[in-house]
């Protein structure tokens, strides 16, 4: 029970962090069709900006300024980079963002160095909020949950209940029509891309001190975010949310259960010994492959339900 409750909380925190990252990507991917490889780089930039800003004027201003900076960079990338590349099709876009991710990593290494930077959580939140079965639950994790929940609400309301959300949705499905009605479609795309990048930046600000801020953080977070987006389904914020929480919980609980295929077979009266064929594979325990489970699930969903959990069209 103890392990269950604590793992549930941990899974939730990690899942919400994933959601903050993935929501921006899912916006960009579903609206513009751009598979943005540089998305996790914006996450990293957010963390580094927040680190530098918090050294001078504190964490709270950084919480606002760093995502804005990331958003501006995103807008610049869309206006002067992606828009030109866009004419050459999706492969060109994909390669463009891939190159961008490598360049950003190198720039970060040259600016802030290869070592992790001491980006710490603000003192105001540096205390255990409550203690559950002897394990501290840091207040900062609760704060992360709060920020991501607010963000989810804000995006959802913005997209479904405001005029600008309406225009964005229209521009995505029927760009020519929206343009004929007098809306500036390229500007809407820039806005969406900037907003997506800013969201990743925000995730970086609150994720950078929860994990470690170092040049490899984009590289380690990148793949899992793609899994979330594909699993949740294109164009669905709700699907993305469910997938994020699910991935967070799966990774957390996979660690806790020390079971293997051999144990499962033993239930059916089939005992695995060293002589059994594939004994090596059958006795691998769940925690050892926990980190791979999300990728396995992505493969399965692509085979059996290509549109993802709540997607509106095929990936």
């Amino acid at each position: 029970m103890e392990v269950f409750v604590v793992s549930l909380l941990n899974g939730l925190v990690y899942g919400m962090l994933l959601f903050m990252l993935a929501s921006g990507l899912t916006l960009i991917l579903s609206m513009m069709g751009v598979l943005n490889f540089a998305h996790a780089s914006a996450y990293m930039l957010g963390a580094y900006f927040a680190f530098t800003i918090s050294q001078h004027i504190g964490f709270w201003p950084a919480l606002v300024i760093a995502p804005l900076l990331c958003g501006l960079i995103g807008a610049a990338i869309e206006m002067w980079g992606l828009r030109r590349v866009h004419r050459n099709g999706h492969v060109a876009e994909l390669l463009f963002t891939f190159g961008l991710a490598l360049i950003i990593e190198k720039v970060v290494q040259m600016t802030w160095g290869l070592l992790p930077v001491p980006y710490r959580i603000p003192e105001l939140l540096d205390f255990p909020l409550f203690t559950i079965y002897g394990t501290h639950f840091p207040a900062y994790r609760a704060f992360m949950l709060l920020v991501s929940a607010l963000m989810f609400g804000a995006i959802w309301l913005g997209l479904t209940r405001t005029r600008i959300g309406l225009i964005i949705q229209a521009a995505l499905t029927h760009p020519e029509m929206a343009s004929a009605l007098g809306h500036n479609v390229p500007r809407i795309f820039t806005l969406v891309f900037a907003a997506g990048t800013a969201l990743a930046g925000l995730a970086g600000v609150i994720g950078g001190n929860y994990q470690v801020t170092e040049p490899a953080m984009a590289f380690t977070m990148g793949p899992i975010v793609f899994v979330v987006v594909v699993f949740g389904g294109l164009g669905s914020l709700t699907g993305c949310f469910i997938a994020s929480i699910l991935m967070g919980l799966i990774q957390t609980f996979a660690v806790v259960f020390d079971v293997s295929l051999a144990d499962l077979l033993a239930r059916f009266g089939f005992v695995v010994t060293k002589e059994t064929p594939f004994a090596e594979v059958l006795t691998v325990t769940l925690p050892r492959i926990g980190a791979l489970l999300p990728f396995l699930m992505m493969v399965l969903i692509l085979v059996f339900r290509p549109r993802g959990l709540m997607g509106t069209r095929d990936t």
Binding site: P116, A216, T220
Partner: protein
Amino acid sequence: MQPRKGLSALLGFVLALAAGGTAWAQQTIKIAYTDPLSGPFAQVGDANLKQMQYIIDFINAKGGALGKKFELVPFDNKSQPSDALIALKSATDQNMPFIMQCSGSNIAAALIEAVNKHNDRNPDNRIIYLNCGAVAPELTNEQCSFWHFRFDLHAAMKAEVMVRALPKDITKVYLINQDYLFGQSVQREVKNYLTKLRPDVQVVGDELIPLGKIKDFSPYITKIKASGAQALLTGNWGPDMNLLIKAGVDAGADLRYYTFYAHLAGGPTAIGAGGDNRVLAVMPFNENVAPEIGNAEAEAFARGFREKHKFDFSSAGFRTIFEYLQAAINKAGSLDPTKIAYAMEGLSHKDFLGFDSTMRKDDHQIVSVYFVGVFKKGVKYDAEGTGLGWGTAATVLAKDIDQPNSCKMKRPKM
């Protein structure tokens, strides 16, 4: 015909340059250095590179070897054995007598095999592999090679140091290691020495994790707490170590952490003040050893690096490698790798802290002094500006960790 003449003149010039280049290159003793200089483990490779460069400058200022200076040539291997082999190829193409590599026993295993093959086939262009930190015991036992010299204690020796440092009141331990050659060796050896030296200690958990894949270790900490362990023993390095301890400290787990690599670049920053008196590491050197034993000269040497690069000099032990090289080359009186290798085996040396060390002849494994450092407040030199630093909790002399080996060394003709 004028243009063609111009072209051949240019060609001649380029050739002359190239020839001049090689002539100049022979003035230095080149050491190819290959480690991850990009990717998730880049921080470790980069820190090593800076520290070695500092040491080489120092050794060169003292005259190098045979009147020649050492020169380090870095190659990024991105933690991939295949890239390390490309580095080896470049090194042998340029006739470099040495290749050095520190991170990753899987890479080391590939290098040993490739160096053996290369040296068999090219008796007049051989290369020596200096291993500065790949510590799977297999490399100097089953896989031992005449061309391979290891300048760090292997995992079994480190495991013994770690187990010896466990206080009497700790009776329940949890093991977490990375799921590859090195991590599995640590897992095996720690259990082995626990049975031998501390039969009262119970292993309540024993786990392997995928290398460099886990971003949040909180679930592991929950599990460790539930198991009732008092100490966590781990060979993890890089982000796998940093994130693990950070998660433990954040959760306020009442644990002591016994590590192989918490002192390396990035570790202290990730651990922070919450790790005060909880985190221990087995290490060949820390900056507080010199002031603790009152060796002012060694202290000044370490301080010089700190002032120049603004970060810790955690691997000053690399100086021993270059002092061995210097001694072996001077003893051999030649730059022929075969002669140097013969000169190096069995060589003994007093390191700059004043402790004895020996490059064992049977398996080319160094035995040297080792320390157990504890991360705490109030030491003279802090680590990575955290205000906390490594104080020496235990010192284990070379003669006490001289473990047996099973190497059957094949030696070439001189």
